[in-house]
């Protein structure tokens, strides 16, 4: 099993921090227009939000794993709900590499695997170095093409 790049934790922490800040701004707005919210409470909520975000990021990094198995891409992830997904290569429709602004700043990118499935259709592997992402994309594409003769919906 392969782990993600350690820097992905920063990405998740950043996401958590954004969430905490949004919550803080929301509470501040409530304080301003709706009802009195003590500043200490806002600070506490934001601090707890940060803390939870960090703990979540650390934990998520520890559980996130993926592997290219003989017939399928296999992933394990999830803190609250632990999820194990197998994506058979024959089912791979196309593979993208993507990165958002934060990811780009951290020098990371994601690989997104699409299947014809209607739910849980898009499988995303975040926290890959651009090289690793391209590599994985190539590998998956090759494996998908190899097994394509067998494909059918």
């Amino acid at each position: 099993m392969e782990a993600l790049h350690p820097r992905i934790r920063l990405f998740w922490i950043a996401k958590g921090a954004i969430g905490a800040i949004v919550l803080g701004v929301g509470l501040a707005a409530a304080d301003r227009w709706i009802t009195d919210v003590p500043l200490a409470a806002i600070a506490a909520v934001v601090a707890v939000g940060f803390g939870l975000g960090i703990a979540y990021a650390v934990r998520l990094y520890r559980v996130w794993q993926y592997e290219i198995q003989p017939d399928a891409l296999y992933l394990e992830r999830g803190v609250v709900t632990f999820v194990e997904t197998s994506v058979p290569f024959v089912r791979v429709q196309h593979v993208d590499t993507q990165f958002g602004p934060i990811e780009r700043a951290l020098g990371l990118s994601s690989v997104v695997v699409y299947t014809a499935g209607s739910r849980n259709a898009d499988v995303r592997i975040p926290g890959l170095t651009p090289d690793r992402a391209r590599d994985l994309q190539d590998t998956l594409r090759k494996l998908a093409v190899e097994s394509e003769a067998d494909d059918g919906v």
Binding site: F82, P88, V90, T115, R119, V153
Partner: protein, 527 residues
């Protein structure tokens, strides 16, 4: 290139003319209020201009619309100013549907819709063609699709290659009409394959179906009707309001329930009147409808999964319905799956399921009792929320005896038990069968070779109890409205076993299947 029926030009031109009239009318009326320069007298020029250009556009639209059946693709060109040319490879076509509204039936016209996998929209709509032409297109597309499918590296379809091919044989054998020749796509060649009638919804069945198919959606309409009636005052005598609460409830709930049931029944009858299912070569063909007549074809090879539905009433009577799901969108059916047999005796339904998928009647594994405990806890929480809500309402509205809401707790254990007993799964030779739901119970049969992804998930609570859920994803578009088939709350090792079995059998099935069958997989084509 073929043109649509000339009537299209008339209806199109009239429609466009109407909007050509409305647009300047609305614009000038609004603008003349606020902008001084605009005067209502402009309408004398603008309105006829709008109508004329609308008419012209409609006619031009008709003349610029063409369709053609080539050897490999169905071509549609359209567009007056910006032109669009679309070629749909036959092997990507999931189903061909013909729709006839009431007016269209009178005029002998029909709408043809071609569905392919993947898109949210119908890939091509021909509105309108004559009924005869619609039938011809439907037939031709099916024939050409079958030809494209058969043109691969195999000369004739081998029955053992695929369960659906088996079903073909058994269908022919089972059909009482001996006159119908066995219908293999390869045999049929240029000639039209014979149609075998598989199922006809009898009047008695239709009535039973109408009586038992309760549509939750129809429960809302009577509320509006009632609100309307009681608002008018005159229709509902004043003293009714002064009667006891019980009578009041009776006077509202009973008519409401009756109206709901009647509406629901009426909708079912109009939708499924004259339902008929047949088989032509490698397609299922069906027709149905009282006012609006639908007919469509479902290629056997495009079937993703089959779902058998029943509600407690239907179970009591021993009836069930069968739905076939393809990757394309179903016509007029928001559920996006085709009702293949809307309502029939349960044994017959399982018979059909067997013919379509080769399924033998499965032995269900029930869920561990721990699962029941989870549902009990879940429903108890729900009851607690209800009591809390009642308490909340009591605080503001002076509602007394809010604690009576606690009867909800009494309902929790039986509800949990019913949910639990109606759930189950079966790991068969070629299929995974998932059963869930109490009120609308759905038994979904998924051939292993249709599995797209497999997911085992465990929430915090499930992990504590050592349980897991397996989500089996297919390309069936029914999962957009119905949740993806999920085996919920099984022991972790069983979940893992199902997950691995599904994966392994998918590979085996793919190896066993004839390569050529795969080529027919429309969705596999890069989109």
């Amino acid at each position: 290139m073929n043109r649509l029926h000339p009537f299209t030009a008339i209806s199109e031109a009239l429609g466009r003319a109407a909007s050509g009239l409305m647009l300047p009318l609305a614009a000038v009326t609004v603008l003349s209020e606020s902008v001084d320069a605009v005067e209502t007298s402009w309408l004398l020029v603008l309105a006829p201009l709008g109508v004329l250009s609308g008419l012209a556009y409609g006619v031009a639209h008709y003349y610029r619309f063409g369709y053609e059946l080539t050897d490999e693709t169905f071509d549609v060109t359209s567009g007056v100013f910006s032109r669009q040319a679309r070629e749909i490879p036959y092997r990507r076509i999931q189903n061909v549907d013909v729709r006839q509204g009431m007016v269209q039936r009178l005029l002998g016209l029909a709408v043809v819709e071609l569905e392919t996998a993947g898109g949210g929209d119908t890939e091509a709509t021909l509105e309108y063609v004559s009924k005869a032409e619609a039938d011809r297109i439907q037939r031709e597309v099916r024939r050409l699709t079958a030809e494209v499918d058969a043109d691969g590296d195999r000369s004739a379809p081998s029955p053992e290659a695929e369960p659906t091919a088996d079903a073909d044989a058994s269908t022919a054998a089972d059909a009482s009409t001996a006159a119908d020749a066995p219908t293999d796509a390869a045999d049929s060649g240029r000639s039209r394959p014979a149609r075998t009638l598989l199922f006809e919804l009898e009047l008695r069945e239709l009535v039973l179906y109408a009586a038992t198919a309760l549509r939750p959606g129809t429960a809302i309409l009577p509320v509006f009707l009632l609100a309307f009636v009681s608002d008018e005052g005159g229709l509902l005598p004043g003293f009714v309001l002064e009667l006891s609460a019980a009578l009041l409830i009776g006077s509202i709930v009973v008519p409401w329930a009756l109206a709901t049931a009647l509406l629901s029944a009426a909708m079912t009858v109009t939708q499924y009147y004259g339902f008929r299912l047949g088989r032509e070569g490698n397609d299922f063909v069906y027709e149905r409808g009282l006012v609006e007549r639908h007919s469509g074809s479902i290629p056997v090879e495009k079937v993703q999964s089959v779902t058998i539905t029943d509600n407690p009433l239907q179970r009591l009577l021993g009836y069930a319905g069968l739905w076939v799901e393809t990757a394309g969108y179903g016509p007029g059916d928001s559920s996006a799956s085709e009702s293949t047999v809307p309502f029939a005796a349960e044994s017959r339904v399982y018979g059909f399921a067997e013919r379509i998928t080769g399924l033998e009647r499965p032995q269900f594994t029930s869920l561990p009792t721990l699962a029941r405990r989870r549902y009990l806890a879940r429903y108890a929480i729900l009851a607690a929320v209800l009591v809390a809500a009642a308490y909340g309402v009591a605080q503001v509205s002076g509602l007394e005896r809010w604690y009576l809401a606690a009867v909800a707790f009494a309902a929790a254990p039986p509800a949990a038990h019913l949910k639990w007993t109606n759930m189950g799964y079966a790991v068969c030779e070629d299929h995974l069968v998932v059963r869930r739901g109490f009120w609308k119970r759905r038994t979904t049969v998924i051939p292993y070779y249709r599995i797209q992804t497999l997911t085992t998930r465990r929430s915090l609570f499930q992990r504590r109890l050592g349980l897991a859920s397996v989500v089996v994803d297919t390309a069936s578009s029914a999962t957009f409205s119905w949740s993806a088939p999920t085996i919920e709350n099984v022991a972790l090792e069983d979940a893992r076993a199902v997950h691995d079995t599904g994966r392994d059998r998918l590979q085996t099935a793919l190896h066993e299947r004839d390569r050529d069958d795969e080529r027919s997989g429309a969705f596999a084509d890069r989109q």
